[in-house]
């Protein structure tokens, strides 16, 4: 079996409010999967169904080869909730110890694992202070450590960087990368696209409870935006550039066009030189996830 998550037609309605309409997706073993969409799209509800926190209204699914909600399979899963709140009368170390015991860990193995993780999330010096004195970023880091106690095969992270400063975000990114290197799979909900872009192998865009597009991030190598700063621009030149790509336009004294392949760049340069136009700048940019997101979500999507 090469997938860690497989669902078909998962649906969740709270009364008449449909939170998730039709969730059909597959996440492969060892994959970092980004689940992207605006607020209210149904990301958290989807994750909760996968974790057995919420019972689907319809549909079926398997996680780590077991049906949704299976208790034993959870031994190999980790989860950091979106609105994390923990037992704030416990110290960081006690918190990890209790959660480790719930995973069935004990003794020296657990102690070593706790110390390792405290160091990993940079909380060794705060480990004996009660959680009620932790900042939001510290809580998120201890929550992250909690999700990794059992060396999980599959980690669910719901908006893992939303409360963090840039350093905290780097840490989360490093942890995701390290998890992938160890062969673990990661399912991450996010609306912070720039974070996801650098870590995910594959993403799915959700809109009003439906997956509207799924793609491997490597696939998007295709489209590049070419930006040019030229000595002289006229209509004839713009028309000529159209042979290299679509959407030729002039913005703030720059010329932009969308080419289908990076290989066109040298051709553009050669052609411009042949036309006797001076080139002050020639840059190529992949379409950012953010642009893709807007494109996929369409004009009708208003801020949630």
């Amino acid at each position: 079996m090469n997938s860690v998550i497989e669902t078909a037609g998962l649906r969740k309605a709270f009364g008449s409010k449909v939170a998730v309409d039709d969730l059909t997706l597959t996440v492969g073993r060892g994959e970092v999967f980004g689940f992207l969409g605006p607020n209210g799209a149904g990301k958290t509800t989807s994750m909760k169904m996968l974790l057995g926190l919420v019972t689907p209204t319809a549909g079926v699914g398997q996680v780590l080869g077991a049906p949704l909600g299976d208790v034993k399979a959870r031994a190999k899963m980790g989860f950091l909730p979106e609105h994390f709140r923990f037992q704030d009368w416990l110290s960081g170390r006690e918190f990890l110890r209790f959660h480790g015991r719930l995973y069935g860990l004990a003794g020296g193995v657990l102690t070593r694992r706790i110390e390792e993780l405290l160091e990993r999330v940079d909380l060794l010096d705060a480990a004996d202070r009660p959680l009620r004195g932790y900042s939001k970023g510290m809580l998120q880091r201890i929550g992250l450590a909690q999700a990794l106690l059992n060396q999980p095969d599959l980690v669910f992270l719901d908006e893992p960087t939303s409360g963090l400063d840039p350093l905290g975000r780097f840490l989360v990114r490093d942890i995701i990368v390290a998890l992938r290197e160890q062969g673990a799979s990661v399912f991450v909900n996010s609306h912070l696209l720039s974070e996801v872009e650098v870590t995910c192998d594959r993403v799915a865009f959700v809109k009003r409870g439906c997956v509207v597009r799924e793609m491997a991030l490597a696939e998007q190598a295709g489209d590049v935006t070419v930006e040019l700063k030229l000595g002289h621009v006229d209509a004839a030149l713009l028309a000529g550039l159209a042979q290299f790509g679509r959407d030729v336009r002039q913005v703030d004294g720059l010329v932009r066009l969308t080419a289908s392949d990076e290989a066109t760049l040298p051709d553009i340069a050669r052609w411009l030189v042949a036309q006797g136009v001076s080139i002050y700048r020639l840059a190529a940019d992949h379409k950012s996830l953010e642009e893709l997101f807007l494109e996929v979500m369409g004009e009708d999507e208003r801020p949630g």
Binding site: L53, V71, M77, H83, F84, R85, F86, L102, G104
Partner: protein
């Protein structure tokens, strides 16, 4: 089992960490000190001729029994408060805050989480009752040489009363908010309380309708019936019928009521497991 014990341990930590244990301990000790000092002076008057005459030992025992039962009645009330308030927020609060989410996604059954919390609070409740009721009995014995009869049976009945209300409080938290749970359980307790009095009053006045009305209330919530049973077994026959007090028992709750209370508690616990097991979190 591992899950139940871990959650029970976590619950003990919660009781400690939220300073519940400390508050209960300090106030409990204060209560016992007041009770002891009061009893000491009353007893000194009793045997020192301060009453104008020196009562016989049998007469002394009537007075002492009254005082000890008054002490236990107050303890019973404090224990009821503990039983309802201690766990009232444990599920509802954890669900609302989201604390529950990292617990229920561990490889532990949801039922184990409820049972673990139940067990943790039950241990605290039992310790509290033993400390308080045991304290009252010990003080009476040390100061006046008075021995409460059937103390273990009486304590067990009081503990069952507390367990029943505690379980109702946990059950409420699986569905309702903290506030609604508190209102519901105290409302039921009040119903049982009034029912218990109606039953006794009906028996004294020979009014069967009133008495039956009280018994029905006790069937809805058998908590007060358990207190009456406890106070019945802990008093000598002569004393418990002399007058109408919160601990005089004219109409004795039946063994059937005891069995019903046990079934009731177990039923409430099973319902709590079921409700929590299937709800969205």
């Amino acid at each position: 089992m591992r899950g139940i014990l871990t959650v029970a341990h976590l619950t003990l930590h919660e009781v400690k960490g939220r300073k519940v244990a400390l508050a209960a301990l300090i106030l409990g000790v204060a209560f016992l000190v007041v009770f002891g000092v009061g009893l000491y002076f009353v007893y000194r008057d009793m045997i020192g001729g301060g009453l104008g005459f020196t009562p016989s030992r049998a007469q002394q025992n009537v007075g002492l029994s009254f005082l000890v039962m008054a002490g236990l009645y107050a303890v019973n009330f404090l224990m009821v408060m503990m039983a309802v308030l201690m766990p009232v927020d444990t599920l509802a609060g954890d669900i609302r805050s989201g604390v529950i989410q990292t617990l229920v996604t561990k490889p532990v059954r949801r039922a184990s989480i409820v049972l673990g919390k139940w067990l943790g609070f039950w241990v605290v409740l039992a310790l509290y009752l033993v400390m308080m009721a045991g304290g009252v009995m010990l003080i009476a014995w040390a100061i006046a040489g008075f021995e409460v009869q059937n103390a273990p049976a009486g304590l067990a009945l009081m503990l069952l009363e507390g367990t029943l209300l505690m379980t109702l409080s946990i059950l409420g938290g699986t569905r309702l908010s903290t506030l609604a749970t508190g209102v519901m359980v105290f409302g039921l307790y009040g119903l049982a309380f009034i029912g218990g009095w109606l039953e006794q009053l009906g028996a004294v006045l020979g009014n069967v309708t009133t008495q039956n009305f009280g018994i029905i209330a006790s069937l809805i919530v058998p908590s007060e019936a358990l207190w009456q049973l406890a106070s019945y077994v802990m008093q000598p026959p002569l004393i418990r019928e002399v007058s109408i007090t919160p601990f005089s028992v004219v109409s004795v709750p039946s063994t059937g009521m005891l069995v019903w209370a046990l079934v009731y508690t177990l039923g409430a616990l099973l319902l709590a497991l079921r409700q929590f097991g299937k709800r969205d979190l």
